[in-house]
Symmetry: C2
Subunit: 152 residues, 2 copies
Amino acid sequence: MTSTRIASPSDASEIAELLVAFNTEFEVPTPAAAVLADRLSTLLHSEDTFAILEGGPARGVALVTLRRNVWYSGRVALLDELYVKPEDRNHGIGSKLIQHLFSVAKERSLALIEINVDEGDIDAQRFYSRHHFSAADPDTHERAFYYYREFE
Amino acid sequence: MTSTRIASPSDASEIAELLVAFNTEFEVPTPAAAVLADRLSTLLHSEDTFAILEGGPARGVALVTLRRNVWYSGRVALLDELYVKPEDRNHGIGSKLIQHLFSVAKERSLALIEINVDEGDIDAQRFYSRHHFSAADPDTHERAFYYYREFE
């Protein structure tokens, strides 16, 4: 039996705690755990968001949102966050989460998984390359930067 | 009266022709116009995809998909494509499309607009910077690369 599983809406609080820990570790301002838990509880009830957890209590989480895209018949998944607790790193938990995500992608006929990786985070870039992600466009062989404008 | 407007599902064929022209111009393999028109017709009926057109017949298009995200209460928009016909460039049509997108973002309480811009496409990077997009994370001041893995 594997301890890697799709989260249910009742896991919202546990996931929220992991996301707060993630922001706190990287010194990024974070919404309160209760706010995130509320949102997650709604999101995890929908078809368009799912999370994968490893361990009980959870040692790591992958949070994924889905959208449509004109270039593919299947849906496109964005890996919003992949986080493993500091004390549980270097035990392959990130890889277990990613492998589980690949199974879900195949089951649900997802077309693509996307993730944005910091320019200087060479470890994360290696991790995703090892798991068959690429930054180079197949046609232009060029990488792309993520640009954004916030309104909220 | 402005000639910039939200597309209706009946504009699907015209948008498909623009997307094929876009791929052809940049020598990228493209699905047939009929396939794209079919998909667009479905997508434009949904809540999660919209397009903005400029001119009649259209001289440019912005294609946008929406998703949820745990970090924001509003939805997040991804600008999948922004294309202006070669013969109509340098007349501010791209800016008109972007400004119209900003109005829609405010009307619909969108939290964020995202776009991936090629590393070497300095003109596009200048265009988005001029329209208040940023590549640098507000907290880490770092840029991020777009990584993906295809399954389709």
